[in-house]
Subunit: 361 residues, 4 copies
């Protein structure tokens, strides 16, 4: 359970860190969308290990294969199965983990839940699982772009204590990908990279915040009550490895304001109902209002550190463990395409759901 996301645009992911392969099955993608591996590979490349000096050096080419659901270059409306082989698995690097629970990893909880765990590289709890999410998100993203003109852009807005300034209205992927840390504020980006290098040298790690916007979403996407758009986005973001928080629009800082300060007044602009401000983050009552969708996700510092820490072994004895293997000192730059993918999956699902509500719209 828990490996499927979405109601109409659905993705099921599978695969362990060091098993044979990882993959995803997308069910519900509308038919007749032009699609090939080339639509998906660039997103996987942005998520890929080894893409820059500040990420893990695990060597995976992460080549995606589409095994079904596409015919003569177009989607059939049937399930799209995608597969990426694991290449650089080094299970031996994890021998110690067989015996000991790594602090702030899922070793202990998986064992408690299932009574068994794949101790090689975190098994299913590894961030390698997100390969399937990114592949599926790339399809959702292409469909949203072609049918609605929706554009999703995420970027790193905080690493450790370093905050970036970035205009959500103008940020674009080119600016984001201009630096290895994926922060469009060049000055902040330089400091962030420096910080990542520095913690890495110390065998330590660092976290941060990914900010994300979606442009051009029509009004009316979302739902009342339990499946509010922000609720589904929150679920999507908190389902990501290492995420600890989510906020939309004014978020936590909005609690400092009064209602008069916080409310988004309406006005007519270019013939459209618009808000003067966007503290709602583009969503009101769970439903899009046509403004920029805007949210942030907090990621904790990577749990694997190259320093000795106290822990417990499988025989319930106190012991210590020291991180080994190839790890990201900071997951933030690789989290950017993952956040975008999950946002695309949420939006595509709600776009399809809305087709069933207003067939005239």
């Amino acid at each position: 359970m828990g490996n499927t996301f979405g109601r109409l645009f659905r993705v099921t992911t599978w695969g362990e860190s060091h098993g044979g392969a990882v993959g995803a099955v997308v069910d519900g993608c509308p038919p007749r969308l032009e699609l090939s591996e080339e639509d998906i590979q660039p997103e996987l490349d942005r998520r890929r290990p080894g893409q820059s000096a500040i990420v893990t050096q695990r060597r995976e080419s992460d080549r995606v294969q589409i095994l079904s659901g596409v015919f003569e270059g177009k989607t059939l409306g049937t399930p799209i199965s995608m597969l990426v082989w694991n290449e650089d698995a080094r299970p031996d690097a994890y021998e110690e983990v067989r015996e000991k629970y790594r602090p702030s990893h899922a070793d202990y909880t998986y064992e408690e839940k299932f009574g068994i765990r794949n101790w090689q590289g975190g098994g299913r709890s590894s961030a390698r699982e997100t390969v399937g999410r990114v592949a599926a998100g790339a399809i959702a993203s292409k469909w949203l772009r072609l049918v609605y003109g929706v554009e999703i852009v995420a970027w790193v807005s905080k690493v450790g204590v370093i905050r970036a300034e970035c205009d959500p209205d103008t940020v674009n992927r080119e600016l984001v990908d201009a630096t290895a840390i994926r922060c469009p504020d060049g000055e902040a980006a330089a400091k962030m990279i420096e910080l990542v290098e520095s913690v890495r040298k110390e065998g330590d790690s660092v976290g941060g915040i990914v900010e994300c916007v979606a442009r051009n979403c029509p009004t009316g996407w979302g739902a009342p009550v339990f499946d509010r758009l922000e609720a589904d986005l929150a679920k999507a973001m908190l389902s990501l490895p290492a995420s600890k928080g989510f906020e939309v629009g004014s978020g936590f800082a909005g609690t400092d304001l009064t209602g008069l300060q916080h409310n988004d007044e309406f006005e007519m602009r270019e013939g459209k109902v618009r808000t003067r401000t966007n503290r709602s983050g583009g969503i009101q009552g769970g439903i899009t209002n046509g403004e920029l969708i805007h949210f942030r996700t907090a990621f904790k510092p990577t749990a694997t550190v190259m320093r000795e820490q106290h822990t417990v072994n499988v025989r319930r004895e106190n012991t210590t463990i020291t991180g080994r293997g190839r790890h990201d000192p900071c997951v933030l730059p690789r989290a950017v395409p993952i956040v975008e993918a999950m946002a695309a999956l949420v939006l595509a699902d709600h776009a399809l759901l809305q087709s069933a509500v207003r067939r005239d719209a």
Copy 2:
């Protein structure tokens, strides 16, 4: 769509603010739980309007009736239907809303989504919808308490810029309910109440943060990947009216720390695997580790203010609107039982899901 929550412990809510009634159907509650209206009414009373001077003065007795699923004082395992009649509906107070979209309310987005809206009191987008959630949550809560000893406590930890200090390990409902604002830090509570009174006099409103803990959750609840426990909690919280953010454990502040500072080292304590700190908030890899579950939800200031604001009418003309009717200047104290209810629903659902994973546990 969007009116059902949960997979095995499921609740479907229904009802508009000024329609005939509001209610909920709970499907999947285990059989043979002792249950009567008296288990549910106290929670509804904590949510009820008019309970203190600082909340809305709408007069609703909010008496719950159980219509099915209980026989000779025990649950049958069949759906439990609960109903609360709306008594003090004053649709006339909303005549202006028929024509105009209230800023930062859902009037405009509901009309865009559905092509129709109930303009009386917000219809389905009204917080009155949460009556059904609280009634359902009371059942989940009782079951969790009796079967697992789980105790869920929420409290107000911030109102406007006023922050309370409160020990999550010792806070209890008695302390929470001791003040009208439901903040266990007496000094802060006094200031918060003063602030609410003051913004109310100015026709303004204020938001804040509700913090919540769940004690005694067994290890192993939750799931990998999409249905992580924190993901479901995030969805539950962001599905609440006026919520703008969610964080678990160290949350956004955790991004200031390095991995070494942030990691929760394991140790044996009283024969159990425990963590020395709890920055994980009781959840690792989406699964409970036996520590205190700890999360926070941000609520924006109430959108209804008794002051003139710019807006647009249904004919797409600029205009102004001034809040009328009976409203909470601050939703926080009434949000406390709602947050607890949603937490209980999420936990009960995962408790049942775990029964299917480890029948031996």
Copy 3:
């Protein structure tokens, strides 16, 4: 669990035979459908006990109340909650059932499943549960008729060993409702009524077959693989109390033919792709082909008979039981509106699902 049906057009039913009330919540009904109790009551009246001399004489007025989801005469797109109070509950008539399991009823299996059962009138296993289905089906049916011109007609085609002859292409509700047994073949109907009277006098009961057609369904409804339209219809029909079989198109008799005899050849007719025969029953590969949808459901004879039978009591002792209370000697005439309701729910759900597949269609 198990009390919700459908994915986009969803119904959740609740209520026991002798509890306070029975009802349904419909979620996903499209907005702006004109709807009032008057659209629903006639279908409930067709299902109602006491409607003729050959059905149970339990006295229920079965007046439906809509409690939410409708505003100014139109659906809002929010959940429609409907309620019917139980009036003529006579729990005392069931004292013996408290102790003994009625043969071919669900007393024993409910107790095994839940460890508790409502012994009054079968509790949740009573056919009284179908009130909610019929109310929900009436909404689906109205929507299908107004938006697509779909017309659903069911009738009794067999009672005991008596078979009716009836032309599926021309049968209509007027013909069906012309006789108390709801069989449009007048001659057969007379024999069927005679048979029902006769078994009733003997304290016995009888079963039969309900046949059903849906006209004017567009092509393209349904789905590949697991959610084929006939699979969902089969599930809907086998979910009905007392049903034992389902067949679509040629059904079991089709196994007597060879492929050449059985195949539905295509031809152009009035500018449309049509089949020359309809052994497919309007569905090919799980998807409608524009022909008449045509299926049959078998209902066993009513389990309650007014004669002594062997059974076992709750103390696991052999004993006997004799049926008491007011029961249908034949459920068939009352099953007709229930079959239609379930067919409508399946078709409305697939109609909405198709909106998400081809937004251009």
Copy 4:
């Protein structure tokens, strides 16, 4: 949509007849089940083309690979991804189908639904899709056998007009697999094979009935109302290619009996509550009563015949088509393992659901 089956024991299948591969992802299989390809391959071999002279001669080795979810020989509780490469795809054989709709196939309806279709071998509507079902069912079957001792046996009980006599209480797989037609009644089997040979020579085809029993199911599996066990079985069976009918226990023939004749009286037998007869087919009120589960599924004659038939082409012109390629003159022997697989999936799902209802049982 429509490619996932089950709630807790879930399978998602993917793949087209002539695409690269077919496969399945099983989510929710309990952890710590010993599992390898060798548990699955024998079932695929029973479904495989070319296994005998009376089935299609398409050459597929159908070797299954497990790509995830199994570690050191045991299931992890995470998704089990399985893959079978398509080897003997001959898309050229289908050039004519590109232009013309085959009678009683899904060519026309897929095109109507999706606006596109894979014309090679039926694409997703091909029975090749059932590879994934059989692979998943083999896992469910093993788990049911090891944990509950459940044994599922299906056999061919009718081919064309030839009926077999077979004792459901004693039939076993050895008897079933003793003949190429998978009918344990040797005399009938010989006639059936003769019939299949004869229709094949004429370029024609034939259908029939698969009967199935499940032994040793505990009481209490199933659910009230919509998810009755027989409803889920009916859905499972009607989701199979070419199936046209389903009946459980007495089925359609039971409508000939009166209630007194039909009822299954209870009695104590070897300390257990048992029924004297089993017209209920092991299910009462949707829930197992501990007796043999017993149902039948009707399969129409194969649609592909090697004779000229009338049809229509994609330009909406009348034309004719003659079957080509390698096809089963009778799907029945290969349907046996598929029916068993689907039965196993339904039962495993309900077994897990029951864990959540009665954790004490």
